[in-house]
């Protein structure tokens, strides 16, 4: 049905107007009420939220990075401290004319072209908020020159802060680790604004990382009232920073540095333990990186140089390096044999070789030692004695004693990565390889080869436990020393005999005569060790075993050494491992290094004089040698500009894949190496435990 249009009259129009105008009036009141309600919602219901936002608009809090707690040695000498640092940064977001500003900065700061190129590359990769470092460690003149010309340099930010300083440089690198700028992931995980504050650095490795909470402190804040354009209106109260707490170590900084220098050009590690308390007096892994330059962020080529080095400077060999302990286990073996009822006077006839089943086991002395008792076996390091004795007793009676003395044990130390090796026995092999323990396995283990793996720290603990007769626990934090170590479950005469045979190694015509202590009235007791990293074939044996000097570095034997001194009243014990040393240079071999480290503790001047004599022949002290090596590497690998950028997010050395690979590969070859045929079994890598 179609609707007719209504006829509208003026009266109807007037009525309709009144009605509709009233409707609109009501509408305005409705809208007004709605707006009032909306306003109430904002200003009453959400008042708290918006007040907070207004306040955070108004107040600009600039965090002041807290001063990091010092790391000091047992006498309070700084191992890691802070020094005043004048630095210049660029805030990428505020940078207006990059080319002009960089050119000007380069002139004022007298930066080399290469550095400027690095800044340019960093700026291209920069993420807005994170300042890019232009220069640090500036002298006051250059710093002031930038501050004065700031109006011409938008985005440039001169800051006076603190930088971490390691007085001993590379000597403490693997002990302290280093600090660095937090990564983007770390910031995303915590959202802590301190992490993106310029100049703030946190521990990246070593003690700096594990003691982070203690060392960090609390950030201060400079609170200012600012306008939207960043203009300062008023200074509000500044909250001072709370410096981090000092961490006192059991380390002796002097010994640490001395040992690092005394290792010379070796790729090695040295650990010294106080025989009364188990305190670690030094813990050296060399060569190392310079933690000072690492903390500033190193360049790609430097990183590459360190990664390429076959002396693995990025690896902490003390806790991460696993080595077949070789003959250093022999004193421990004698303790186990005595505990199992073997008399020290029982003799074994050493003819130079022992046939077991289808295999032939050789003594390191081709002609043999003749009749050998327990003490001579240790002093002369006769392999046949231990082959024979352990073939009789079975290795399962040795392994518990090895563990008792610290091998295969994990110690509670503040290091994120500790590899603690293997003490094999039949149960272990059944579990790991689902295979039966063979006589050959036991024979290999008896001379510290085959499946046996230990780190240098464990070797030092073993020496300290033999020396003290107590189950010492190593400690590195001065406030966490385990003083009341229980006695070991051995007869004092048995321990005395072990110590005596170790004394004979050095002082009784044994293999370690070079370690003889020159301090009057004191003597050193020790055991040398050699760990093969290659298989010696029957053919080679017939033609004469190759001398280490004839072999490439990677195939040379490891040199190991455990000792304690003074023999008369043991105070200090040490473990030293030199990778691929091969016993080629006398003053770089373990006995003399061990002797000098012990001498430093007992007669410091003599030790220093001894070092002064030999150090120049190695090409100078650590820093000199590192600079020379860097120069050579740099000449050979001219860095491309793109590779010059700061590598602030570099993988932490102990986590670096290259280091992992090197460690794993070395451990594999060692585990697989044994002279006997069954040693073709897959490698036992040792157990690696990583604590977060």
């Amino acid at each position: 049905m179609k609707r007719q249009p209504k006829i509208v009259t003026p009266a109807m129009q007037s009525y309709s107007f009144s009605r509709r105008a009233w409707l609109l009036g009501a509408g305005t009141v409705g809208v007004g009420t709605l707006l009032g309600a909306r306003m109430a919602w904002l200003s009453v219901a959400q008042n708290e939220r918006y007040s907070l936002l207004a306040e955070s608009n108004r107040v600009n809090a600039t965090l002041i990075p807290p001063r990091r707690g010092w790391i000091v040695d047992r006498h309070g000498a700084p191992i890691a401290s802070n020094r005043t640092d004048f630095r210049v940064d660029i805030i990428p977001d505020r940078l207006a004319d990059k080319d002009r500003v960089l050119k000007l900065l380069g002139e004022i700061l007298r930066l080399p072209a290469e550095e400027l190129e690095r800044v340019r590359v960093d700026l291209d990769r920069a993420a807005g908020f994170q300042p890019v470092q232009v220069a640090e460690n500036l002298d006051w003149e250059r710093f002031a020159a930038v501050s004065v010309r700031l109006p011409e340099l938008p985005g440039v930010q001169p800051t006076r802060g603190f930088a971490r300083h390691y007085p001993a440089g590379a000597a403490v690198a693997h002990l302290t680790g280093y600090v660095g700028a937090p990564t983007a992931e770390q910031f995303k995980a915590t959202r802590d604004p301190l992490l993106v504050t310029p100049g703030f650095k946190l521990g990246k490795d070593g003690l700096e990382k594990t003691l982070e909470q203690r060392l960090r402190g609390q950030a201060g804040a400079k609170r200012v009232e600012v306008t939207a354009r960043g203009k300062l209106v008023a200074e509000l109260a500044t909250r001072p920073d709370v410096p981090g707490r000092t961490a006192r170590l059991t380390i002796d900084a002097g010994l640490q540095e001395y040992a690092a220098r005394r290792l010379g050009t070796n790729s090695g590690s040295a650990v010294v333990i106080d025989c009364r308390t188990g305190e670690l007096l030094c813990m050296v892994s060399m060569p190392a990186y310079d933690p000072n330059s690492f903390s500033d962020g190193i360049s790609h080529w430097e990183w590459q140089m360190l990664s390429d080095d076959d002396h693995v400077p990025l690896m902490n060999k003390v806790t991460q390096g696993l080595y077949p302990p070789g003959s250093t286990v022999k004193p421990m073996n004698t303790l186990a044999l005595m505990a199992a009822g073997v008399s020290p006077t029982d003799r074994v006839q050493c003819s130079g070789a022992l046939r077991v089943g289808t295999g032939v086991f050789h003594c390191h002395k081709r002609g043999g030692h003749g009749p050998v008792d327990m003490k001579t076996a240790v002093a002369q390091s006769c392999d046949i004695y231990f082959y024979e004795m352990i073939r009789r007793m079975g290795y399962d009676r040795i392994a518990p004693v090895a563990r008792e003395l610290g091998l295969g044990q994990k110690f509670e130390l503040p290091f994120s990565t500790q590899r603690f090796g293997t003490v094999p026995d039949s149960a272990w092999k059944a579990r790991k390889y689902k295979d039966r323990w063979t006589v050959a396995d036991g024979l290999n283990a008896s001379i510290g080869q085959g499946y046996v793996l230990a780190n240098p720290l464990q070797l030092a603990v073993m020496a300290a436990r033999i020396a003290s007769g107590r189950a010492l626990q190593p400690s590195i934090l001065a406030d966490r020393v385990h003083r009341d170590a229980p006695d070991l479950p051995f007869q004092p005469e048995q321990l005395d005999h072990v110590r005596e045979s170790m004394w004979a190694v050095v002082n009784g015509g044994g293999t370690g005569a070079a370690a003889r202590l020159l301090v009057p009235g004191m003597s050193i007791a020790a055991k040398t060790g050699t760990a093969q990293v290659r298989r010696i074939t029957m053919a080679e044996r017939r033609g004469g075993v190759l001398k280490n000097g004839q072999l490439p570095f990677k195939l040379r034997d490891h040199a190991l050494f455990v000792c304690f001194a003074p023999y008369e009243n043991p105070r200090y014990a040490a473990g030293i491992v030199l990778e691929h040393n091969g016993h080629t240079v006398r003053n770089l071999d373990t006995p003399m290094i061990g002797r000098d480290i012990m001498t430093w503790l007992l007669d410091r001047d003599r030790a220093i004089a001894s070092l002064a004599e030999v150090e120049p022949t190695w090409g100078g002290d650590i820093a000199t040698r590192m600079a020379a090596e860097a120069a050579v590497y740099r000449a050979a690998h001219a860095p491309a500009p793109a590779a010059a950028a700061t590598k602030t997010d570099a993988t932490v050395p102990s986590d670096a894949p290259a280091v992992e690979q090197a460690t794993a590969a070395a451990n594999q070859t060692q585990a697989a190496l044994a002279e006997a045929p069954p040693a073709d079994t897959p490698a036992g890598q040792g157990t690696t435990e990583r604590t977060p």
């Binding site: 509208v8 509709r20 009036g25 007004g32 904002l42």
Partner: protein
Amino acid sequence: MTTRLIPEPLAQLPWRILLLVAAINGFGLLMLYSAAGGSMMPWALPQGIRFCVFLTGAIIVSRVPEDWLRHGAMPAYAVLLLMLIGVELLGHVSGGSQRWLNLGFGFRLQPSELMKLAIVLAVARFYEMLPSGETRTFGAVWPAAVLIGLPAAFVMLQPDLGTALMICAGGATVMFLAGVPLRLFIGGALGLAVAAPLAVNFLLHDYQRNRILIFLDPESDPLGTGYHISQSKIAIGSGGIWGKGFLNGTQSHLDYLPEGHTDFAFATMAEEWGLVGGVLLIAAFLLVIRWGIDVGQRANSRFAKLTAAGLSMTIFFYVAINLSMVMGLAPVVGIPLPLFSNGGSAQMTVLLCLGILMAIDRQNRRRPQW
């Protein structure tokens, strides 16, 4: 009640509404004084002087006979439309968007501003001339639509979305009041709902489209266009019930609130005066609007009725659009809060509205006000 002490014309002025308007403007001056950091310059004093000038003008307009308005409506509309076209052409010549004509003596006329007023008068005049019988035919709709559509289109070209919307709303209100069938408005609203997204995508400029998208999600761009809305909400929200106190607003004084003395003046006020100040201001505007609609209800002629109610609603649109925008209920479209925000154009338009309303009031009053 009136005495011979006060001259008759003065006594006849609608004092109640004048005082109300003066109060709103006075409140605005306080806000401007505070926004300038506690200074009469650069905003409060010129704004106060302008108010006096325009109010005098409004009182003069209130003496204008209704017939002058009736007969002047269409010519004024035509002149303004030509000026709008002129602005557009000049804009093209000078290369860029231009919204005003420079008349010399430092006076710049913004024709689009006056068009908000003229459109009401013109459409009212059209419906007065239209025979009452044709109100419900198509012939009652399309000429009005053209009247509205032409200026709106030119203002859109400037581009000035807010003003274009107000011209459409003012014209449509008069059509509604004139009795155009409801179904057209319902249909129109539905049509708008469909057309709006299309318009957003195809007709608007990038910056306008951005404003709308950001209005829908202000936090998506807290430092860009969404900054205005976010900061405005922070200012209002942090004011609480009683406000932070006169001269104590941080959002405005530290420049976090952009346009704190013009488009976002309400937020500046709300930060210092709180919910109380805001509700009082809204109530004051509603009273002015109610008075204006009442003037329309009392008027005798169809033109006067439609004009009065239409102009009142124009004031309402100013207020409603501005407050919605400031409180984050509408996109940022650049409509000031009349009598309150700094700036002469809106002040002039609204006081001219009041002058016309007073003129209609005076000529249709049966008894003196006081």
